[in-house]
Symmetry: C2
Subunit: 759 residues, 2 copies
């Protein structure tokens, strides 16, 4: 199908699930009620670091209305090295089982130590108060600096840093060192005409999904278990449950519910294993819905980070060296996205001498979880400020500086792999001619500045499966194995309608559960729409090919002589010998040929890296330190926009989350490891009053070797906003704020000359 | 796979859905509750025959708590000749739309004329009382004789009898005449040594399912509709709804619930279209659950029948002629199973001269619906009594008489098609050597008799689809498109476990809805287990073949060199080069090859006709006319018993329903067309106290050209019981009771010489 022939692809079709979400009939995790359902609650550690000596649940079990209590004793120990796959990435389940229910130690404030199921939530709360836990409290580690100190308390007594030579002889709080390197950075920094050097810091920020973590489990006496959950990956959760609970997958069924926001935070199992064990013990269905406070205290944020950046360049602006050192706080167990962060930091620029070094650091805080473009905003905040500072130092236009040094197809990524064709040059062109860049910055009451940052995201592919069934009246039913967190049902219905020459409302589309759909990996990593579109398109073409065979048999001609035009199969050259799609579909159902169901599977599709550029105009009140964003424009190469409205939604959503982290969102811990802002009053997400309309400019440079040329669109828009805003602030104030979020306090500090901005 | 290799097939595996049904967690039609759900109720005609002049719903609509009222005006008229398929059989939807909601006329007592949806059932009842319907009452037709009378009132003013030459010039209450004929029956009856001639009668009997008809519909404002229903065919209902409501299938989703009994009575849509229209008007989900009285008054029974049989034979017992004339009461609209009945009556015997003639007769009663072996019990009751009477007249053993005249492979059925290989001879052998036949009949207080009857069922094949997915740990998930009314999930799990060398608990199996499973026809016609087993077996073999390809790629050998032995893929001759099923499954998911999902489709599989023989010992109290069944043994050629316990369950269930119809179940109408026994107190189904244990003898003569050699087992066991009991009664009393049910009154009448036994 040639691009010009697209009829449905590229249209701004309304969301197929829009109405049911708008009127409240869509079923979210917190909506499901089963007959006899119990309410589960979780007892959480009040200590950031403590050995669990003894747990006595007998008083709780004796409380009328309590039907089950579980503790660490209800979860089997796993063999060292046990993993479950997240796409091709193995997840450490020995840690995950401890994260879900503390075993030897409580490692953060909020770490689950027991859970109860009771006939009503108040009884469950009362039961929690009756569980006696004896702790041996240990000194906590609550900052990266504390974790790295020579005499730091150790979270894990046998944690040896991987990736260092010679291997360490003593345990530490650093789980891994990652290095990506080419050329000679030290020599080229020494020889550079100009070197910019600065230390940056990012607080942890929560995904901030609207719907709290929620799940329901029902266990049959014969061992079968059904779990309804608001998750990004039904199969991923099933796999984790299967290993964590030592149950074959044939006994598990994970049913997706609508997801009220996830952003990476609903990939790992949280309460599902607790629900299952409670349901098994109680013999009744059990639901757990976390409170907002529990979500903030005990589910993983994006990682707190320290980054040191050195950029060396010639006087003409040609980059000669880039050095980045990052320390990322993983929380209670290893696993920060520091490798991703290094890639995001180093990918956009063609620089001969590169050294990216990262450290994964554990601390007594909630374990980090993926957050949209994991690690990207933190790295970008550092490197893109350094680039901006370099432009200032050299007196160059920041767009020209970036364009001069930007990577292009064939250039090597920091991983050593060559970059395929990308639309970065076209993004620069779009910025250069856009009024947001060419308009003069209007003056106002307070100092103003305009900032630019570019961002990169590599993305995943993983595995996606779907089935396309032709129904009896020639409409389509498409079942996908991946959940829809970004509007993919609409985009995929468009793809199927396109391939079959149907209207979108002639395509029914839904996510199956783990028993009724083919294995698909999580909806994450900017992978889902792109890989699933390829799967759906392939399945549609396969279904059409099979229908052509049936049409040929009926029209008594060779299958090669059948053409499909406007929902009719006709004999080429004899258009009156034809059969309609609806009629043929009916006949295949009931008479001959058999119903047509075609599968589509994609696996390890070529990567489709993507670039964005954001331009922010800000005004800063020097008396209060408050930063106001006046104008914000997001440019992005999306490869192909199946539904531009939805693509813009992703760009706008990412930008707003990025602006939130830039200016107000940061988790704030006291020295005992207690989060001080564990409510949405204190953890300050932007409201509609805090952000201007986000203008979007879609650039379409089709990704090579990817069906429809689609690139992932979900993650890159969160990468550059903080740097774009920071660069605008720096140009407004003449001072850099190197700590995100750039709260009024930190802006004031910067104005007083404390560039690091630590409050 | 050779028979001797079967490891799971043939085992008495417990039902996979047994526990959830036993403990009450299975979700039936009456269990589902949706948020905001309304209660629907149906206003029904109190007249058996009346023109509907006017319906005024305004008072009902004004009642607080009433959210929607629907009448005939809410359902579109259909083009004449509009059908929807039931397998290959087109269903007349112009009648069905009038059956679901009366249009020009009310045609039976209980015919829906309006429906309401209200916030609670009592408000709905009150609203029904506020609907004003103006009827013009017409004289009703309530018996076959009345319907056939020259001056009979006409139900349908334009109904012309089909199948007569020359075509009639006047309308009548006979919709169709069917004739199956070979040889010269009149001449051979005239030349016969002995002729037995008798008229038989059967009352209508209800399917008597435990769970009443129930459905829930939810309509989204964007036009999408989901229907949860207790049905035998999700796709069949979807198709009917799609045509009746003029909605594309892509806007409809029909979700199966567990079915609490159906027996043919849950194939046609009943309340589903009402639920949908009410839900659309109310903007809230609507549930309708019929009361038992509504089920009896207004859903279709098996057809009341009159049959005249003449059998001619030589003195040695060789049959020379068989003539059967049957009139079957279709109820309000044409469509009795008279053609099936003729086939059942004529199929078992090799007789050169055969004439089977049937008439489909409409009357002002509920429209008949399929009931297990539709038409079979009524025809068998007549022909097998005639055969028994012939044996008595000739002084021959009734088993010998049947064996001498029985059909065998290659003989022609009454339809003219040759019979494939069947196990009738083996069934006779089994009877001949069984104690139920060879034991002397013990004497008792009252006269006793032993009766034999044989039965035939042809069965359907239609279309069946499934998907078999290999999960990440090498277990299986099987999704079928057909609902499970007979235990097929267990049998199919056995088939999948057999093919993959797994345990049954390593196979998850479920019925998908119309969007997540492939098109499959109704669970009916003794077709489902057999055709779906072929589909599942084929899909499993396809899945294994694909796994072998992936194993070959990994083990670096040709796919032909891969053997699959005990959940391991190994290189033939080098058993240490192997990969386990679980490991391979994981690798295909996440690394290479892609997840394996295979479809299985069967369509128009070869027929697998089946024969049964039943032997009944009865005792008859001549003072009361009460018949007691002392001993009952069912023999059946099942081809292959995948799960003998379930096969026996089918044999026993059919026998008990046949005994019920034989002795106590019959719908009783007064002259106005009101059913007199519309409750389970008065409509007398057998209880455990009324039937002896049913002994089962399974005969296995594999059906040719059918995977695993399975035959349909569900229907034939209801065919011979009434005749077997009647023959026992005749031998106990010396008089024939020719009217079923053979109630005490009818038995007493027979003892007084009224052989027709009309009460």
């Amino acid at each position: 199908m040639t691009e010009t022939a697209y009829r449905v692809i590229g249209q701004r079709v309304p969301k197929v699930d829009g109405v049911e979400r708008a009127i409240g009939s869509a079923l979210y995790g917190t909506d499901l009620r089963l007959p006899g359902m119990l309410h589960g609650k979780v007892l959480r550690s009040p200590h950031a670091h403590a050995r669990i000596v003894r747990i006595d649940t007998s008083r709780a079990e004796a409380l009328p209305g309590v039907l089950a209590v579980v503790t660490r004793d209800d979860f089997p120990e796993l063999e060292p090295g046990t993993t479950a796959p997240l796409g091709e990435i193995p997840i450490d389940l020995v840690s995950l089982t401890r994260l879900i229910m503390a075993r030897e130690k409580a490692l953060y404030v909020g770490h689950p130590v027991a859970a109860v199921a009771a006939s009503d939530p108040h009884v469950a709360d009362a039961a929690l108060a009756l569980i006696d836990v004896e702790y041996k409290v240990l000194p906590p580690v609550t900052t990266i600096e504390q974790a790295l100190a020579a005499d730091a308390p150790l979270l894990h007594e046998r944690l040896m840093t991987a990736g260092v030579e010679p291997p360490p002889t003593k345990p530490s709080n650093v789980s891994r060192r990652t290095v990506l390197e080419r050329g000679d950075v030290a020599a080229s920094l020494a020889a550079a005409d100009v070197v910019v050097e600065r230390r940056y810091r990012a607080d942890a920020a929560h995904q901030g999904y609207l719907e709290p973590v929620a799940a329901v489990a029902q266990a049959e006496p014969d061992g079968r278990v059904t779990v309804w959950t608001s998750t990004q990956g039904t199969f991923t959760v099933e796999w984790q449950l299967s290993v964590l609970l030592k149950m074959p997958m044939s006994r598990l069924r994970v049913v997706p519910l609508e997801v009220g926001g996830a952003f990476g935070g609903k990939i790992y199992a949280h309460v599902e294993p607790l629900c299952v064990r409670l349901a098994q013990k109680a013999g009744r269905p059990v639901r757990i819905v976390l409170t907002r406070e529990e979500v903030l205290r005990a589910t993983g944020p994006g990682a707190a980070t320290i980054a040191e950046v050195k950029v060396g360049a010639q006087r003409d602006g040609t980059l000669t060296a880039l050095e980045v050192r990052m320390w990322m706080e993983a929380g209670a167990f290893p696993g920060s996205p520091v490798a991703n962060a290094l890639l995001v930091g180093g990918a956009p620029y063609k620089v001969a001498n590169l050294r990216l070094e990262g450290f994964d650091v554990v601390a007594n805080k909630p374990r980090v979880e993926p957050y949209r473009g994991p690690g990207g905003p933190q790295a970008n905040f550092a490197v893109e400020q350094a680039m901006d500072e370099l432009a200032q130092r050299l007196g160059l236009d920041p767009l020209d500086l970036r364009r001069r040094n930007a990577v292009a197809a064939g250039d090597l990524l920091p991983t050593g792999r060559p970059l395929p064709e990308v639309g970065l040059a076209q993004v620069f062109d779009a910025v250069a001619r856009h009024p947001c860049w060419t308009d003069p910055l209007p003056t106002g009451r307070h100092p103003r500045g305009r900032g630019l940052a570019i961002g990169f995201w590599h993305g995943q592919s993983f595995t996606s499966s779907c089935q396309v069934a032709v129904t009896g009246d020639g409409t389509l039913s498409v079942t996908i194995g991946a959940v829809d967190i970004t509007g993919i049902r609409t985009a995929l219905a468009q793809v199927a309608a396109e391939e079959f020459g149907l209207r979108v409302d002639q395509v029914a589309i839904q996510t199956g559960d783990t028993e009724t759909s083919g294995y698909s990996d999580v909806a994450a990593g900017s992978r889902t729409a792109r890989t699933m579109a390829a799967a759906v398109g392939g399945a549609c073409r396969e279904a059409l090919a099979r229908l052509k065979e049936r049409a040929a048999a009926r029209l008594e001609c060779a299958v090669e002589d059948i053409a499909y035009v406007e929902q009719r199969f006709l004999v080429k050259g004899i258009p009156e010998r034809a059969i309609g799609l609806a009629q043929l579909a009916r006949l295949t159902m009931v008479e001959a040929g058999g119903p047509v169901i075609a599968e589509g599977v994609t696996q390890r599709m070529p990567a489709a890296p993507t670039f964005a550029a954001h331009v922010a105009d800000v005004e800063v009140d020097p008396a209060t330190g408050k930063v106001g964003v006046l104008r914000f424009t997001a440019f992005q190469d999306v490869g192909r926009a199946i539904n531009p409205t939805q693509v813009e939604g992703q760009m706008q959503g990412g930008a707003v989350q990025g602006i939130g982290w830039a200016l107000s969102e940061g988790e704030d811990f006291d020295e005992r490891g207690w989060m001080r802002n564990a409510s949405l009053l204190d953890y300050r997400m932007p409201t509609a009053l805090d952000v201007p309309p986000i203008d979007c400019v879609i650039v379409e440079v089709p990704a090579p070797d990817v069906p429809y040329g689609m690139r992932g669109v979900g993650e890159v828009p969160i990468v550059p906003p903080a740097a774009a805003v920071a660069n605008a602030v720096a140009r407004a104030l003449g001072e850099r704020v190197a700590h995100m979020p750039m709260t009024p306090e930190r802006v004031l500090r910067a104005l007083r000359g404390d560039a690091f901005g630590q409050v």
